[in-house]
Symmetry: C2
Subunit: 364 residues, 2 copies
């Protein structure tokens, strides 16, 4: 399977793999796709720099990219301490009470973190600055078009910019801002997502813009990848599907999360604002359900909601209880039923893609 | 494009077209697909009988089917008058107040109808009895598996039964009950629909059952039909897409509805219980929005909700105001931008399907 994007990026297969794990990202690139490392978790630019150096050493010279989280308009900004003051006490009380009810133990005194600051504009900018010092081949932005000067900065380094879009008009705006590739992210996708499903969204965006489109949402098999290409996409953008790879387990020793993902069906996700303040699809657990009970507060806007739940996420992770995990994942989770190496996932995708084309050809 | 279903039904193309209009259904069958006439609107079995006789005379001997609305478990039953007593006064007041606020005029004294009784089990059964007196080739049930004795009744006449499913476990239950074909109805579809999008749902159901699967939801182009077949479906089930055909205009002189559909984009739908009491995707209008305002009551269960809004639907239709129409339609409405004959819609679907397969073949 080769599309225009294979030549453009020097990759064998038009499979773009978004992942927070450098082990997964490097393995995707080594397997002939384009591994795209999510940067939002790096509060300290030096830490990102070290991880990208590791990527440079473990990708066998194959191309890779990075993903940042940067709104086009600069949002509420400030240090974690400034922002903390904006979080209502009632919200904090609800989180504390809920965790107690769910049986999630408190953190040790010294374990409190700063939360994820990658949602802050200044931090996301530092990610771009650091990434451009490495031989990256793509900068993707999870929140759509980055500010124009960031796009220009990338282009000066010869690096194309991809932006996620959940509506055709957003895709058009991104392209008008200078974005080179649109990731059409359907309703069924994990993480930040809109309301239009991939079957409708992908051809709509393909028809609306004159740049290549990647299909995101609901892809975890060769049939789904073939469907995405049938819809007009130039490749697939897979995120959730790598969360049950052996390399993810290596990178994030969160066996409770993988255990919960392996057990979940396609109905076990929910689109909710509780993770970041913007609608994002998560695994449906006792934690997400608590936020939809009567009396639960409305989630706060980005970036406050993520700061509010940052300690809760740490507590949940340490609790090791699969029934309370807080994890972005798409409806494809129903097809994530075993832990496998990235290389096996990739070869299965390609084999079934080929079988699908053979099957379709016989229908003519 | 030929699948096993073409031979089974004696049709040229595996395109199944659900529609409440006999003009559309007959035109779909004449164009080589299988027209499936929705029966829910026929309160009087004699009226359905007359319309099916018209179908027999206008399908040039081509096969067609019918669609009934029949839950497997027999629900609240009774005459319209019995059921009326179960509708709370507060709900009636809300409907009346809302219509006034929306500027929808009252009906003439003699125009009040009985509401749509096809949701009632006894009425749906009469539809099956009548339809089996005609040379129908398929009975489909919009609410999943019909009761076993109805399936047996159809099979005694040699007629296969199709059932809509929004989850793999529902599809498995339908097949265990004797259903012959599953219609996998994705989140993006119009009318009654679940939460799992077609991209994920179709292969999940294909893998879960050993009968042919039709893909419903999000299909209005050859690319989408090719995607559905790539996902493993044996054909497409299209409903919404016929609402902007010339034949639909002929059957239902509701120009306000078609006007509203032509103007709507893929974001202009909403999944809500206000139409029947079960979640169904409708065009988002001032009417549906009124039900999500603070203070609006929760919709009633099926079949009460439809009885509650029956007069309102008549008033809305007569008002001729596109901004208040109450109409089931899928996200594909964004691609419904002109009034065209069914034959043109069909030939465009087939042409683009073929182009898509040619394009995919070149990627190998």
């Amino acid at each position: 399977m080769r599309t225009e994007l294979c030549d453009r990026f020097g990759i064998e297969h038009p499979v773009f793999g978004f992942t927070p794990s450098e082990h997964v990202a490097a393995a995707i690139s080594r397997a002939g796709g384009l591994g795209v490392l999510g940067c939002v978790r790096f509060n300290d630019p030096a830490e990102l720099d070290a991880v990208l150096t590791w990527m440079d050493e473990h990708t066998d010279g194959k191309p890779y990219g990075v993903d940042v989280v940067m709104p086009a308009k600069i949002p509420t900004e400030g240090t974690a301490i400034d922002l903390d003051a904006l979080i209502p006490a009632g919200h904090r009380d609800f989180v504390e009470r809920t965790l107690q009810e769910l049986g999630v133990p408190p953190l040790d005194e010294d374990a409190h973190g700063a939360g994820v600051l990658g949602w802050l504009h200044s931090v996301a900018r530092s990610h771009v600055d650091v990434a451009l010092q490495h031989p990256i081949k793509l900068i993707a932005n999870a929140l759509g078009s980055p500010p124009r000067d960031v796009i220009e900065q990338a282009h000066e380094h010869g690096i194309p910019v991809a932006a996620l879009a959940g509506k055709a008009e957003h895709a058009q705006r991104h392209v008008a801002n200078g974005v080179d590739i649109v990731v059409a992210q359907g309703y069924e996708a994990g993480g930040h997502t809109g309301e239009i499903a991939s079957m409708v969204l992908v051809p709509e965006i393909v028809d609306a813009v004159d740049v290549p489109v990647l299909a995101a949402g609901g892809i975890g098999s060769g049939r789904q990848l073939a469907a995405a290409l049938a819809l007009g996409a130039s490749g697939g953008w897979l995120g959730s599907y790598w969360l049950t790879t052996a390399e993810y387990a290596e990178s994030v020793p969160a066996s409770a999360t993988q255990q919960a993902l392996l057990a979940a069906g396609s109905s076990d996700t929910v689109r909710t604002r509780v993770y970041t303040g913007k609608p994002a699809r998560l695994l449906k657990t006792r934690w997400t359900e608590a936020w939809s009970q009567p009396g639960a507060p409305e989630p706060l806007p980005m970036p406050l909601q993520n700061l509010l739940v940052a300690d809760a996420h740490q507590r949940i992770t340490r609790s090791g209880d699969p029934s309370v995990v807080s994890m972005p994942v798409g409806q494809i989770v129903g097809r994530m039923n075993e832990i496998r190496p990235v290389a096996d996932v990739m070869s299965d995708l390609l084999r079934e893609f080929d079988e699908t084309l053979t099957r379709l050809d016989k229908l003519r």
